[in-house]
Symmetry: C2
Subunit: 581 residues, 2 copies
């Protein structure tokens, strides 16, 4: 491609609403243009990146035996009502009425449509397994779209859906997809982790997220540097501490803590480690009668160490809380504890509650907790001696760096990631709701076992930039750069030699199948180099009159601090060798 | 591709709502699946065709210097309000409110967004000409979607937009696009015509439609078999008849025509050719005061030959009618003619009207028209003698086969076509509405001259089928067939020889870059052949045990009535020669 036939448009300044590097740099490099909140035009330079992402994804999906189709962007509401999602999904589902006042949605995903196709097309076990995918426009009406393509409203997603005869086969399809995803992300040339994620009702290790590692990532990723263990924060298990609970050594005492309503403040006041304090979380579950009317409530007290954070996914799996819970009201708290939040604890309660201790708290001795009296805490609290053992012990908290790895092979570390892919076993949720069955060997109808697999096609370039940029601009991995190589001639408009040499090199690279751009715009060297450093083309070769005289061109990788001279006659070969590396 | 890894799904019967061949055959061949009214999933077999169409379009657009980008499907209403289309467009514009109750549309085209991009990006004449295109999902909420992909609601269109410094340059951009379109439609391997279309206010020959010729086409195409002249029915000019008006030879007479309220009935009753009758069309234009209030109306009488049809586009260009017109009310007709429709004419009127004669009527002698009295017509009517010459003579009618060609090179013929492309000079309509300017050499702001250029990507396959099918199914041109070649092994599951030979041939073709499918599903020959004839793969080669023994495979083009034996060793070469042809 010659720049004069392409569209290069860079900006000195990013718009003020661009908070993260990828948003700023994609705007400045002329890759995207904002049309409205979370809605962007993919400009020519950005579209080239997206097309390369799509091509790699398509190639590996095809290789894995998935078959491409395209489902409509605008989908009739009927199927969404069958699955229940039309009502269950919040305002992020964009709903439309057509000219006849019939309901439609703009697809955020396509489980319903693909299940509808499957129930029509798949009749026999002989047609299984089956995997359909599409690369198609999606819309999610985010409350607060931000960060450019990272959290837009309209975006492109590759979504694949597998159909299998039973859970064993579904797991094999899942593993096949997870493997394809590894190939895809390997080819992108990004540093990423596949992390175990919560798989809801299915259980087991049947959900993984693919996270591109970047300090600005929205997600916390937990991994073990000494093993393969990796999970997201929701999923990562906090193991029970090794060894028995220490014996009590302090006496129970009611200690004045005036105005100190947080564990942090109490620890500072008393001069003790935060890890010796225990915080109280008061939840409630409603009791329903046969008609679904609320007829009562059960109050729960969850105890976590003062320096730990509650993990809502884990709490939602505690027996008794797994059908749904809420935070207790001020009235319920007063009724059971006779005290306001900030000084609550499991001793001296007015009315019994269900007591759940985090695994860590369950083996603590001599701990500190609220006294159920304003401005007082209890110190030297010990299980068994001062209060009965908890009703339940469970993993209630987020892991922290240094926790033991669940696989027993080391200690956990935490880093930030950007989710760009997700593989998931769906089970029979949709096939039951929509009655999608096949006939098994015995001629009996069975529900299809499903899996779903997404890749954020338009988020991927943003994630790649978060991971690969410097103060001058983007640094694209070769595989998804808008152009792999840029030939920069100096004074092409003045020198016929430079023009001829630059065009010859361009044609040679092009002929060898290299995605090369010749910058024939006639910009001055400084502006030209700044443009391509901002845009992030990984390989640059400079052709100048002096270089021609010396028989040397200047090659520089975007990560190099200086240029290397390469013999003019071998310049193309030099670059091809760098690309193959 | 091996069929076992692809998705082949054919139907014996088409759904009853499939009225045209392309709809029926695309449904039966498993290329599309209906999701709702005018909304289809592109199934794997159909998507392959669409992708080939896209690839050819993209290649030729790039070659022509257009640059690809992708504009959002869901677009904020603000820009549509700037251009006025948000209010002007009818219910075919799909409107949405987001979670914040802000207005959006699902794009039917993207003039507003691309003009918004241009006014931000194009600052100087040095940046011109410029042409942006996209291949993207569109939505038009048709009142009555039908004919499958031919008139769907959601569809894919390639839309390009050119920006130029003046009308001369815009016309050059237009010609460049028209040329690219010819290359594109040539490559598709379809019989098509580029026909002149009405270009509205711009005038000149600045609008052409690309019509795929097919008996089932919705559009009438006018062309001259002896020259290059071609236009659509709206545009094709009916020339003034050669020679002077004949002299009057019959006396004017009031003739009883009881109950004969149409020209056809009158001609039959009187035993005269329909071409001797003249029909009356009564229109009205409203007179407005300075405030836009209707203060009066002018009634118009248009005269057309009894066998001719009015052309609304032409009528809308008659001076005095070009600001808008309507059909006259019964009250207005009674006031001016003193008679009800069916017996109206230009003689014996109660009140004068503006009289416009079609060019043909203006040179008729001894014609027949209504007497402005129920159950009577006037015969032997002659201009000058019986009534004054008309106020205006104009081309008011659709041409008919046998009319002289406007280029004077022969007689016109008419055939049916399906519009698959349109090139159009827009002028400054959008740039004025949206204030999209650039600075000319003198530093003065000028409005951008625009053109727009569409290709119906998903309509194209339907048009191709309308033109290329038989009772067994589709017959794809090579360039857009889902697969170019199908290798059909007979008894692959029983014979290792057949399996080995079929796979070797498949690999040989694949290695040579041929888009070949190996049907390894194990279907019986009859069902297998029927599938591929329905799907319409143009080249088929059959490998059987007998063929292997004889050293001969059977080749058959989809249009051939019988197979040809080709030496097994040369089978791949034989096919490649056929593809190159």
């Amino acid at each position: 491609m010659k720049a004069s036939r392409f569209f290069v448009s860079t900006l000195k300044e990013a718009p003020t609403d661009a908070e993260v590097a990828s948003h700023r740099l994609m705007m400045r490099a002329g890759m995207i243009k904002k049309l409205g909140a979370g809605v962007y035009t993919y400009m020519p330079m950005g579209l080239r990146v997206i097309r390369k992402v799509e091509a790699i994804v398509r190639e590996e999906m095809d290789r894995a035996g998935a078959v491409e189709l395209t489902m409509p962007v605008v989908q009739p509401a009927e199927l969404w009502q069958e699955s229940g999602r039309f009502d269950k999904m919040g305002p992020e589902l964009l709903r439309i009425k057509d000219r006849h006042e019939r309901d439609y949605v703009v697809q955020p995903t396509s489980e319903e449509v693909v299940t509808d196709i499957a129930r029509q097309e798949i009749r026999s076990y002989k047609q299984l397994p089956r995997n359909f995918y599409q690369i198609q426009t999606k819309f999610r009406d985010e409350r607060r779209p931000r960060f450019g393509l990272m959290r837009g409203r309209e975006f492109t997603m590759k979504d694949a859906y597998s159909f299998d005869r039973d859970l064993t086969a579904a797991k094999a399809s899942y593993q096949n997809m997870a493997q394809a995803y590894r190939r895809i992300f390997d080819r992108f040339g990004l540093t990423y982790r596949a992390v175990a994620a919560d798989s809801g009702a299915i259980g087991g290790d049947m959900s993984e997220e693919f996270q591109v590692i970047a300090a600005t990532g929205e997600d916390a990723i937990v991994y073990c540097p000494d093993s393969d263990y990796a999970a997201n924060m929701e999923k990562a298990e906090a193991m029970a501490p090794a060894g028995p609970r220490p014996a009590a050594s302090n006496a129970l005492a009611k200690t004045p803590t005036p105005g100190k309503a947080t564990c942090e403040d109490v620890a500072v006041l008393l001069g003790v480690p935060l890890a010796t304090t225990v915080k109280s979380l008061v939840l409630a579950t409603d009791t329903l009668d046969a008609k679904g009317n609320i007829v009562g409530a059960q109050v729960w007290l969850l105890l976590l160490r003062g320096d730990h954070d509650m993990n809502e996914i884990k709490v939602s799996k505690v027996p008794g809380l797994d059908a749904g819970f809420r935070f207790a009201s001020i009235g319920e708290i007063d009724e059971h504890f006779g005290c306001k939040p900030g000084y609550l604890g499991p001793l001296n309660m007015k009315k019994p509650v269900k007591l759940v201790a985090d695994r860590e708290v369950a083996v603590m001795a001599d701990w500190i907790t609220g006294a159920n009296e304003v401005d007082f805490h209890m110190t030297g609290v010990n299980w068994g001696r001062d209060l009965p053992e908890p009703d339940l012990v469970a993993d209630l908290r987020n892991v922290v760096a240094g926790d033991p790895s669940p696989d027993g092979k080391g200690l956990l570390a935490i880093e930030r990631g950007i989710e760009v892919g997700h593989v998931f076993v769906l089970g029979t949720k949709y096939s039951r709701d929509m009655n999608a069955t096949f006939l098994d060997e015995g001629g009996k109808p069975q529900f299809l076992e499903m899996g779903c697999y997404g890749i954020g096609i338009t988020r991927l370039p943003a994630a790649a930039i978060e991971q690969n940029h410097d103060e001058r601009g983007i640094i694209w991995p070769d595989a998804i750069a808008p152009f792999t190589v840029v030939v920069c001639p100096i004074g092409m408009d003045r020198s016929v030699d430079v023009k001829a040499a630059a065009e010859a090199l361009y044609e040679e690279l092009r002929g060898a199948g290299v995605d090369v751009l010749l910058d024939d715009r006639g910009e001055r060297p400084g502006a030209m180099f700044a443009d391509w450093e901002l845009i992030g083309v990984p390989h640059r070769i400079v052709v100048s009159d002096r270089g021609i005289k010396e028989g040397q061109y200047e090659y520089q990788h975007r990560r190099d601090t200086a240029a290397t001279k390469v013999p003019a006659a071998k310049a193309a070969a030099h670059i091809r060798a760098r690309l193959a590396a």
